[in-house]
C-alpha cells in the first residue's frame, strides 16, 4: 500500500504515576483496513487507543491523521478528525434513553434552537434497527436495558456520524451470536466504505475473520504487527503469551 495512512501513532507513551502503562507503541491504519489489537488483560490496549480517542491524552508521542501531525487532547478534538470510539465501558449515561445517548453532545435542534427529541428518536430508531432489529424499547432509560442492547446503543452512536476512523474496544463482548454476526457484517460494510477500524478483541477467531492486520501488545509494548493472512493463530498466541515473534518464512 503506498497511500498515506489514515492514522499513524508513533512512539506513544503513557504513565499513570509510577505505572508505565504504554511504552512506545507504534500503530498505523489505512483507509478501508481493519487492524485487530490483541493482548493479555492489562496489556495497555485500551490506554493506547484512548490516546487516539482523546479520552487519555498521551504523555509522549506523535499522532498523524492522513499524514498531518495533530494534537488530540480531548474527545472533542478526536471527533473533529472523524474519530469515533466504542468504549469498553460503553460510556453511556444510564439515566438517559437510547436516542439521548446516541446524540449526546451532538443533538439535533429545531429551528428555534431547542432540542428536537422526536427527530432524534426517529433517527435513532433507523440506525438501531439496522444493528439489532429486535431492539424496540429504545426510549427506556439505558439502565433498564440488557447488556447487549446497551452495546448496540454504543455502536449505533459510533457509526451514525459518518466516522472516518472507528475504534472498537471489545464491541461484541456482550452480544448474542446473531447480534455479533450483525456487527461482523457491519464491520465489513464500513470497511468497504473506506473507513479505517481499530478492533480490540479477545476473540482470536473474530480477529482473524475480520482484520487485515493484527497488532499484539504485551505489558505496554508493541510486540509486532503482522498481516493476518501470513500468520496462524498459534503464532499470534505465541506473541500474546510469550512475546515471541513468529519465524518469518
Amino acid at each position: 500500500m503506498n497511500q498515506t495512512p489514515l492514522v499513524e501513532m508513533i512512539n506513544i507513551h503513557k504513565r499513570f504515576g509510577g505505572v508505565h502503562a504504554v511504552k512506545g507503541v507504534n500503530l498505523d491504519l489505512y483507509p478501508g483496513e481493519v487492524v485487530g489489537i490483541v493482548g493479555h488483560n492489562g496489556a495497555g490496549k485500551t490506554v493506547t487507543i484512548k490516546a487516539l480517542s482523546g479520552a487519555i491524552p498521551c504523555d509522549e508521542g506523535e499522532i498523524r491523521i492522513s499524514g498531518e501531525k495533530v494534537s488530540i487532547r480531548s474527545p472533542r478534538d478526536a471527533r473533529k478528525y472523524g474519530i469515533e470510539t466504542i468504549y469498553q465501558t460503553l460510556a453511556l449515561a444510564d439515566n438517559l434513553n437510547a436516542p439521548e445517548n446516541l446524540f449526546l453532545g451532538r443533538e439535533i435542534m429545531t429551528a428555534y434552537g431547542t432540542l428536537n427529541d422526536r427527530a432524534m428518536e426517529n433517527e435513532a430508531r433507523k440506525v438501531i434497527d439496522r444493528l439489532n432489529p429486535n431492539f424496540k424499547n429504545i426510549t427506556d432509560a439505558v439502565k433498564n436495558m440488557s447488556g447487549g442492547q446497551r452495546q448496540s446503543v454504543a455502536i449505533a452512536r459510533a457509526i451514525y456520524f459518518n466516522a472516518k476512523i472507528l475504534i472498537m474496544d471489545e464491541p461484541t463482548a456482550a452480544l448474542g451470536p446473531q447480534e455479533t454476526a450483525m456487527v461482523a457484517k457491519l464491520i465489513k460494510q464500513l470497511k468497504s466504505e473506506g473507513i479505517g477500524i481499530f478492533l480490540i478483541s479477545h476473540d482470536l477467531h473474530d480477529v482473524f475473520d475480520l482484520s487485515d492486520r493484527v497488532a499484539v501488545i504485551k505489558n505496554g509494548r508493541l510486540i509486532g504487527t503482522r498481516r493476518t493472512c501470513e500468520v496462524t493463530k498459534e503464532d499470534v498466541l505465541g506473541m500474546i503469551i510469550m512475546g515471541k515473534l513468529p519465524e518469518t518464512a
Binding site: 474527545p75 460510556a91 438517559l96 449526546l104 451532538r106 428518536e121
Partner: protein, 409 residues
C-alpha cells in the same frame, strides 16, 4: 382459551397500565397522595383552620420562596453536587438589595427598585459562579465549598450594615412580597386561569399532532381529556381559594399572590431549561455518568459552574421576595433555608445519586415541607420541636429515595 389466559394478568395490571398510558409517574402520584393526606390530617387536627383561604394564601406565599430555590437545587443535585449555602446567599443578596434600595439609591425614584433587583440578581449570579468555579475548576468538593459559603455569606450579610436591619422598602417593591397589595385581584386571577387552561389545551394539541406526524403513540383521547379536566379543575380551585381571601375589613378579593406568579415563571423557565435546551440535557447526562459526558465532548466543568450560577440567581430571586415581604432587610433572612430547600428537592423525587429529578416534583416537595411547617405552627408546636420534625422528615425522604431506587425494576 388463549384469550382467557391473557385476560387475567392484563386485568391485574389495569391500574399500572392506566398510569402508564397517562404517562403519570408513580412516584409523583405517591407525592400528591402524601400531600393530600398531610393536608387532610392537618385540617382535622386544626379544626378546619388549615383549609381556610387565609392559611392557604400564606402557605402559597411561603412555599414560593422555598420552591424557587428548590428548582435550582434540583439541577445542583442532579449533577451530583450539593449547595449548602443557599440560605446564606439569600441573606447576603437580600441585605445588599435592601441596603442599595434604602441607603444608596434615592428612595422613591421609579428606577430604584428595578435597578436594585437587577443588582441583586447579578450579585447572586456572581456568587454562584464563584462557588461553581472552585468546585468545577479547582476541584474543591461542593460540600466543602458551599459549607464555607454558608459561613462566609452569613457573615457577609451581617457586615453589610454591621447587623442593623434596613427598612422600609420601596412601596412598589413591596408588591413582590405578596403582602397587603401583593396580589393581582379577582379579575386578573381569572384571566390568568383562563390563559393557563388555554395554554394547556394548545400544548396538548400541538404535542399530539407532532406525535402523529412522527408516527409515535399518542395517549388515548379519554385519558387526555380526563387529565385536562383535572388540570383545569385544579387551576380554577386554586384561583377560587385565593379569591376567597379578602383584604382586611373589605370584600375585595386578593387573588393570586405575586410571589406565586414569580414562582410559576421560574418553574416554567426552569422546566424549559431542563427539557428543551442542550444545557438541561447535559446536566442530566453529567449526573448519569460524568465520565461518559466528558467522552461525549460535553464541557463538564463549564456546565457545573453554570449550574451553581443558576442556583445563585434563584437565591437572589428568593431574596427579593423575602425582603419585599418583610419590608426590610435583616441579616438573619434565610437562616436554615438550605435544609428546607434540599428537603423539598429530595422529597420531590430528586435522587441524591444524581441524574434524576423534576422541577414540578421540587415544587410539590416545597409545598409538602411548607405545609408541615405551617401546620405545626397552627398547632402551636414550638420552633425547637418543628426543627426536630423537619430534620426527621429529611432523613425519611432520603431513606425513601434509597428504598425506591433499590426496588425499582
Amino acid at each position: 382459551m388463549p384469550d382467557l389466559m391473557q385476560q387475567t394478568p392484563v386485568e391485574e395490571q389495569a391500574l399500572s397500565r392506566c398510569l402508564k398510558q397517562a404517562e403519570i409517574d408513580t412516584r409523583m402520584l405517591a407525592m400528591v397522595i402524601a400531600l393530600i393526606a398531610i393536608w387532610v390530617t392537618l385540617n382535622f387536627l386544626t379544626d378546619g383552620i388549615f383549609f381556610t383561604a387565609r392559611n392557604m394564601y400564606n402557605l402559597a406565599v411561603q412555599s414560593s420562596v422555598v420552591g424557587i430555590m428548590a428548582t435550582g437545587m434540583v439541577l445542583v443535585i442532579v449533577c451530583r453536587q450539593i449547595d449548602l449555602s443557599v440560605g446564606s446567599v439569600l441573606g447576603f443578596t437580600g441585605m445588599v438589595i435592601a441596603f442599595l434600595q434604602v441607603h444608596v439609591f434615592s428612595l422613591g425614584a421609579a428606577w430604584n427598585w428595578p435597578l436594585t433587583i437587577l443588582c441583586g440578581l447579578v450579585l447572586g449570579g456572581i456568587i454562584g459562579l464563584w462557588q461553581g468555579w472552585w468546585i468545577a475548576y479547582r476541584g474543591v468538593p461542593s460540600f466543602v465549598t458551599t459549607l464555607a459559603g454558608l459561613l462566609m455569606f452569613r457573615g457577609a450579610a451581617y457586615l453589610v450594615t454591621d447587623g442593623r436591619t434596613v427598612a422600609p422598602m420601596d412601596k412598589t417593591y413591596q408588591i413582590l412580597g405578596g403582602g397587603l397589595d401583593g396580589s393581582i385581584g379577582a379579575r386578573w386571577s381569572w384571566i390568568f386561569a383562563i390563559a393557563v387552561i388555554a395554554w394547556m389545551l394548545i400544548h396538548c394539541m400541538v404535542s399530539r399532532r407532532s406525535c402523529i406526524k412522527y408516527g409515535f403513540k399518542v395517549k388515548p383521547m379519554w385519558i387526555q381529556i380526563l387529565l385536562l379536566a383535572i388540570g383545569a379543575a385544579l387551576v380554577c380551585g386554586f384561583v377560587m381559594l385565593m379569591n376567597a381571601y379578602h383584604k382586611p375589613r373589605t370584600e375585595i378579593s386578593r387573588g393570586i399572590p405575586v410571589p406565586v406568579l414569580i414562582m410559576i415563571c421560574v418553574v416554567v423557565a426552569m422546566n424549559l431549561l431542563t427539557k428543551i435546551t442542550r444545557f438541561g440535557r447535559y446536566v442530566f447526562a453529567i449526573g448519569g455518568n460524568p465520565e461518559a459526558a466528558e467522552l461525549s465532548g460535553i464541557h463538564v466543568k463549564k456546565i457545573t459552574a453554570f449550574v451553581f450560577m443558576v442556583m445563585g440567581i434563584l437565591c437572589a430571586v428568593a431574596a427579593v421576595i423575602t425582603t419585599a415581604r418583610l419590608n426590610a432587610g435583616a441579616n438573619s433572612m434565610g437562616t436554615l433555608a438550605e435544609l428546607n430547600v434540599i428537603a423539598a428537592a429530595v422529597i420531590g423525587g430528586t435522587s441524591l445519586a444524581g441524574g434524576q429529578g423534576t422541577i414540578i416534583g421540587a415544587i410539590l416537595g416545597a409545598v409538602i415541607m411548607q405545609s408541615l411547617d405551617s401546620g405545626m405552627v397552627l398547632l402551636g408546636i414550638s420552633s425547637a420541636m418543628r426543627q426536630v420534625v423537619i430534620g426527621t422528615v429529611l432523613i425519611l425522604a432520603v431513606w425513601f429515595d434509597v428504598v425506591y431506587n433499590r426496588n425499582r425494576p
